[in-house]
């Protein structure tokens, strides 16, 4: 997977722009600096939303605007169709914040995104941001600051808290990717390893994980396989959660030997990752690195 570069010139579509979330977050993304060139909606007849032209489908929107990325603010049962519409129109980066995508739909979406050679971030994610350039999704502005830390996160809210506290210490981010908490997702932690390794703006990586699934374990394998040389920090949520109780994300369901806090901590530490159990310890650890760097 190639992570496309995003900056203030990247032309972005919003699919579902006429909906409640689509309208509000198009405005907030534009306020942050994202270049939104068009919207897509079955209600294309509205013509425009706050001056952004609205199209009936991605093909027309791409033809008219040259968009290369899209943020999909549509309901979970419509995501698969919207993703298909985007990649068939040649969109290279698809970001889907929507929660609740059926996992069998996610399997189909992942296959068609891979076949098209596109990148999919989501679902169940606040999206991604290149601070100072633009954001695709709704990472809160108060947690964003240009800086050297790459952030990759499963959990939205925990990453806001982590990013915000680091910003208060003056530590900002290079590229922040919310991979999302779904078990089948477009981009997982391991997929981002080559990107962060080669990204000159990234000096270290903070991974915000969660019990359940194998993403952290696979990340550890990828770090070792790529001989990743930059410092990696991790904060894992759910240490005190009982086994088998789902605490929200479908991915946070612990089954068997992998997926537990201890299994993730052990795998990550073998790969040289510094694993923290609390926000304060994580902030102190990253701050120490930053003050030496």
């Amino acid at each position: 997977m190639m992570m496309p570069r995003v900056d203030r010139n990247t032309p972005v579509l919003v699919q579902g722009i006429t909906g409640r979330a689509g309208r509000r977050h198009s405005r907030l993304m534009r306020r942050y600096g994202t270049r939104i060139v068009g919207g897509v909606s079955p209600n294309a007849a509205v013509g425009d939303i706050d001056g952004v032209p609205v199209f009936a489908g991605c093909r027309e929107a791409v033809a008219a605007t040259g968009a290369t990325a899209s943020v999909l603010l549509v309901g979970p049962m419509h995501l698969l169709g919207a993703i298909r519409d985007a990649v068939e129109a040649g969109i290279g980066l698809v970001v889907t914040p929507t929660e609740g995508m059926p996992v069998h739909d996610a399997l189909k979406a992942l296959r068609l995104v891979r076949a098209a050679g596109a990148t999919w971030i989501g679902a169940s994610t606040p999206g991604m941001a290149v601070p100072g350039e633009g954001k695709l999704g709704f990472l809160p502005d108060s947690a964003l600051l240009p800086g050297p830390l790459g952030i990759a996160s499963k959990s939205g809210t925990l990453s806001y808290e982590a990013g915000y506290r680091l910003v208060q210490r003056g530590i900002g981010q290079s590229v922040w990717v919310g991979v999302g908490g779904d078990p089948v997702k477009g981009t997982c932690f391991a997929d981002l390893v080559p990107f962060y390794a080669s990204d000159p703006a990234t000096g270290a990586v903070l991974v915000i994980g969660e019990i359940g699934g194998r993403d952290e374990e696979e990340l550890a394998e990828a770090l070792i396989a790529h001989r990743f040389a930059k410092p990696v920090f991790a904060l894992i949520a759910g240490r005190g959660s009982p086994e088998g109780v789902t605490m929200g994300h479908a991915g946070a369901l612990v089954h068997g030997a992998y997926g537990s806090f201890a299994a993730k901590q052990a795998a990550l530490e073998r790969a040289g990752v510094r694993v923290f159990a609390t926000l304060d310890e994580m902030v102190d650890g990253v701050t120490k690195w930053h003050s030496r760097a």
Binding site: F138, S155, T157, S159, V184, E210, G244, G248, A250, T278
Partner: protein, 382 residues
């Protein structure tokens, strides 16, 4: 949704999967509708390891069966109470094998696992003996059938015939019910190559419930059996009481931050009552969900303070603050003081709305926890 074996089998029966006849019971009274014996009595709960925990017993007479039901209904397995048993016909003169289908997230496909032996030691077999075989295929029924056929191509005929047929038959319900896991262990294989699903472990995707008629219906009829899924389906949020004697009611959003907050409160010696991912982004201008949540929290006998923690991404905090005030008015049973920590989009509006109503808003979580501690200190001293 992790289905009880009995519910999974009813759903599989509708797809023509061969199963032992069985009935569900939650008491030791009349067992009139029993199929012909001998029987096996099986604890019904959504957790593995029932056999090793004494939750599965073979019986030969109705009296033995009644006694086994009574015993099993008194046990707890993995800390969970057993509320019902399935009594079904024993399957005799058959070999035991293993077959499961599961979503493989990394490979974006379906993983088929088979083993020529089944039973309770399947996990040891997986790691030790090398008898477990698996492969990943495309997520569709013909691919699963072909994949299973290939995996068992070199097995002896009754096993090969039975497992290949089982793979082809089980693929349909796996996709139709949008399962994430469908495991048959043991899968009984008779010398003539016919097969019977001895057990059925079925986990379906909660996100697909809205378009899954049979599962929605089951959930509606048996909400008490699947309380957490029913809650999520009805109210759109995740709520778990983590400590019945907890003193801090949490009104929080985001699973990751909520879990971390619980861990950190506990580490500092405080007792949170509940986990909650209320999903403030999905309230859509209606306080109803918040009212439900506040009423659930009000059931905690030792609740002393409510901690609200919302770091807004998709949420507009101004709107959330107005909904919170409306909800507090509609949940008068909850008399504990409220500490609100809000950060993110719309925090200025939220602050003026809540402070006008006498609820102080802090922006730092550490400061909020200090206030919670102060309230608890005051309550304990009083």
């Amino acid at each position: 949704m992790y289905l009880l074996e009995h519910d999974a089998k009813e759903l599989l029966a509708a797809h023509g999967i061969p199963l032992p006849l069985g009935v569900l019971t939650d008491n030791t009274g009349a067992l009139a509708s029993l199929p012909p014996g001998p029987w096996v009595v099986k604890a019904q709960l959504a957790a593995g390891g029932r056999g090793k925990a004494g939750g599965i017993r073979k019986t030969a007479t109705p009296d033995e069966t009644r006694a086994a039901v009574a015993d099993i209904l008194r046990t707890r397995i993995r800390g969970l109470p057993v509320r019902s048993c399935r009594i079904e016909q024993q399957v005799n003169a058959a070999a035991e094998a293993y077959l499961s289908l599961m979503i493989d997230a990394t490979r974006a496909g379906v993983r088929v696992l088979i083993a020529p032996r089944g039973g309770m030691e399947i996990e040891a077999m997986a790691t030790g003996c090398g008898l477990l075989r698996s492969a990943v295929c495309d997520p569709d029924a013909p691919a699963v059938a072909a994949c299973t056929r290939e995996l068992c191509a070199d097995l002896v005929p009754p096993l090969r015939t039975a497992l290949a047929a089982a793979g082809a038959s089980l693929a349909q319900p796996f996709f139709d019910y949008e399962c994430t896991l469908l495991e048959i262990n043991p899968l009984f294989v008779r010398p003539d190559g016919s097969w019977v699903a001895g057990d059925a472990k079925m986990i379906t995707d909660d996100n697909a419930l809205a378009r899954q008629g049979a599962l929605s219906q089951l959930l509606q009829q048996r909400a008490d059996t699947y309380p957490e899924v029913a809650l999520k389906r009805c109210y759109g949020c995740d709520y778990v009481v983590v400590d019945p004697d907890g003193e801090i009611g949490l009104l929080t959003t985001g699973a990751g931050l909520s879990m971390m907050l619980i861990d950190e409160l506990r580490q500092s010696g405080l007792r949170p009552y509940n986990f909650l991912d209320v999903r403030t982004g999905g309230l859509r201008g209606d306080p109803a969900r918040l009212v439900h949540v506040l009423n659930w929290i009000a059931r905690g006998p030792r609740i002393r303070v409510i901690l609200v923690n919302v770091f807004a991404g998709i949420t507009d905090l101004g709107e959330f603050a107005r909904l919170l005030l409306a909800a507090l008015e509609q949940a008068p049973r909850l008399r504990a003081p409220v500490v609100a920590r809000l950060a993110g989009n719309g925090v200025e509006t939220a602050r003026s709305v809540l402070e006008a109503a006498g609820i102080a808003v802090v922006t730092e979580l550490g400061a909020a926890v200090a206030r919670v501690r102060a309230h608890l200190g005051a309550a304990n001293a009083a």
